[in-house]
Amino acid sequence: MLRMTNLSKVYRTHMIETHALRGFEIDVRQGEFVTVTGPSGSGKTSFLNIAGLLEEFSAGEYVLDGVNVKGLDDNARSKLRNEKLGFIFQGFNLIPDLNLFDNVDVPLRYRGFNAAERKKRIEDALAKVGLASRMKHYPAELSGGQQQRVAIARALAGSPKLLLADEPTGNLDSQMARGVMELLEEINAAGTTILMVTHDPELAVRTSRNVHIVDGQVSDLVRRGATLVDTSATA
């Protein structure tokens, strides 16, 4: 589903060169639920932005669902992002002056679906997150957990192959966080690949695989029973 080979990302100013990722290698298979952990500044966000085609990488190779993204222009990257990826953010990132229906509608508009198809997908997605009855409400009228559910519905409406979640429970209390996590597990169980950045070690152990990033390099951990085993040394 997602394969990065010897990938690097360098941020340059006229004075400083910062290596956010170096020799970065990862292979995420279809249907996996992978958590990405690491200390602040380790390169998690850069990895997620590159995976989400929101940033270019400096060197290496990135293949997303069989498509080598290197050298694609903005239109092709946007199309790929729209068709294959779904995003969930820590801050929900709903558009405040659009109601829930119109928020979920945004990625579908760019896909070019007709009105009937869009309506069906929006209603299905909102029903899946338990908010079908509130589609005319505005984000400000919802709790944080509900807003994140809307964001998940928006991400799901276009039937993405890969869901990218950036600390989706970071702004939620533990009860709401649990609800969102259970929802993500349901989505993964239904076949959608999920890549989730988190600081929460409890969430990390719930998934089948944890990728730990330190200094822009990956340390791959796989759950073996109740513990996580580092496989990168043997890889």
Partner: protein, 436 residues
């Protein structure tokens, strides 16, 4: 996607009402200023006879004295002598021809309750009515025989006919003009030629309609003074007949040809005529003889003054200033939308989609600004009409200007929106999404 973006644009107007109101008002004021001055310029420079303006010609001969003449300079006089005008009439050139001058006559209304009054009119020949498409409510122009025998007949304007005779057909009735009974042969329907191109010498180019028309020959027979400018290079003897025989210029001649291609023939005739006159000792300057069609004549006589043109340029300069302000306001508005742009980009919008969305949004601002600008322009034109009598006829908006207002407003808004929109496209989504 256009309707989707248009809907988003309308919704966005409500997002920040103060900023929106400022943008709309700035744009509206700029558009109103430029549209109202442009409307006046447009009406002033309007081709009054678009179907035949290339077939109507006014001849210009230089009958001025040799003293003070620099070869090649154009005559500063736009009228001609009566004797030349008479020769033009007799020439048989073109399909129609006329000679005319402005007159004023005292009228004694048949209705006793109306006091005598001075009327402004025109003394042309019969062909004038056909050449300048004068519509008739009653009757018709006088006949060629009336011209030939200098008959005392009159064509009244609708306004004067109703004033003098009431709402009846007055054809056949008599109206005393200058103490002489004139028979009414026709009533011209409401007719406004803007500018009053047939007689640009003397009087306002956009002033009131002619109140009556009498045959040139009749006006001459009654020694009716011209009511406008006259140019004389030397003293003339006493009496009206001396003026008719003089080299003073005070009448205007017009020719209508069957086709614009006949211009060369008319020019050749005019040149031959001038040569003949020189052989008779006239037209000593040996200047070129000119023929002007309607639009050339308007240009030559500077119907649209440089003041009007300058005002229009200044108004457009003001619009440019308003646009600079609008750019600043749009930059502020769009920079506040950076997070939305980031979200849309993450959800699949390409830079070109964002560009289109925000450009349409500025178009919506332009549409609203145009509507308000139109109302302001109507108000400004009404004020101009009230405060300036000579502008009354031209300070009116037509459909062309109405359409232009919206095009100008939307176009101006889009031009103003280009930089803010381009900046919006450059938003880095990753930064915006993380900073939420």
């Amino acid at each position: 996607m256009f309707s989707y973006y248009f809907k988003l644009g309308v919704r966005s107007l409500r997002r920040n009402p103060v900023l929106t109101a400022l943008m709309v008002l700035t744009l509206a004021v700029g558009v109103a200023a430029s549209v109202s001055t442009l409307t006046i310029l447009h009406m002033m420079s309007n081709d009054p006879l678009p179907n035949k303006s290339d077939r109507l010609f006014v001849p210009l001969l230089d009958a001025g004295p040799l003293e003070g003449y620099t070869p090649g300079e154009k005559p500063d006089d736009i009228q001609m002598t009566y004797q030349d005008a008479q020769n033009m009439l007799k020439s048989g050139q073109g399909v129609h021809r006329t000679v005319l001058y402005n007159i004023a006559m005292s009228a004694e209304p048949p209705r006793r309750e109306i006091p005598p009054q001075m009327l402004s009119g025109l003394a042309p020949t019969r062909d004038f009515f056909a050449m300048f498409d004068v519509p008739f409510l009653y009757g018709q122009p006088w006949s060629a025989q009336d011209d030939a025998r200098a008959a005392d007949v009159v064509v009244l304007s609708r306004k004067i006919a109703e004033k003098m005779f009431g709402n009846v057909n007055p054809v056949g009735q008599r109206l005393t003009l200058k103490g002489v009974p004139f028979t009414v042969v026709g009533v011209a329907d409401t007719w406004k030629m803007l500018p009053r191109v047939y007689q640009l010498a003397g009087g306002s180019h956009y002033g009131q309609d002619e109140e009556f028309f009498v045959p040139l020959s009749s006006a001459i027979r009654h020694e009716t003074e011209h009511h406008g400018g006259m140019s004389c290079s030397q003293d003339i003897g006493p009496g009206f007949s001396a003026r008719l025989a003089s080299e003073c210029t005070w009448v205007t001649a017009w020719f209508e040809t069957a086709s614009s291609r006949d211009r060369a023939d008319l020019q050749a005739w005019l040149d031959n005529y001038a040569d003949d006159q020189r052989k008779l000792g006239r037209m000593k300057r040996k200047a070129a003889n000119h023929l002007y069609n309607v639009t050339e004549w308007m240009e030559y006589t500077k119907v649209v003054g440089t003041d009007s043109k300058l005002q229009t340029w200044l108004a457009f300069g003001f619009l440019a200033l308003c646009l600079v302000n609008t750019i600043g306001l749009l930059l502020a508005k769009f920079s506040a939308r950076a997070s939305e742009i980031g979200v849309r980009r993450a959800l699949g919008a390409s830079r070109s989609e964002i560009f289109l969305q925000f450009l349409i949004e500025t178009g919506v601002v332009g549409l609203v600004g145009g509507t308000l600008g139109l109302l302001l322009a109507f108000g400004a034109l009404a004020l101009i009409r009230m405060s300036n009598g000579t502008m009354r006829a031209v300070a009116h908006m037509d459909w062309q200007m109405l359409g232009l207002t919206f095009l100008l407003s939307i176009g101006a808004a889009i031009v103003a929106g280009l930089l803010p929109t381009w900046r919006a496209c450059q938003v880095t989504p990753a930064i915006q999404l993380k900073s939420q």
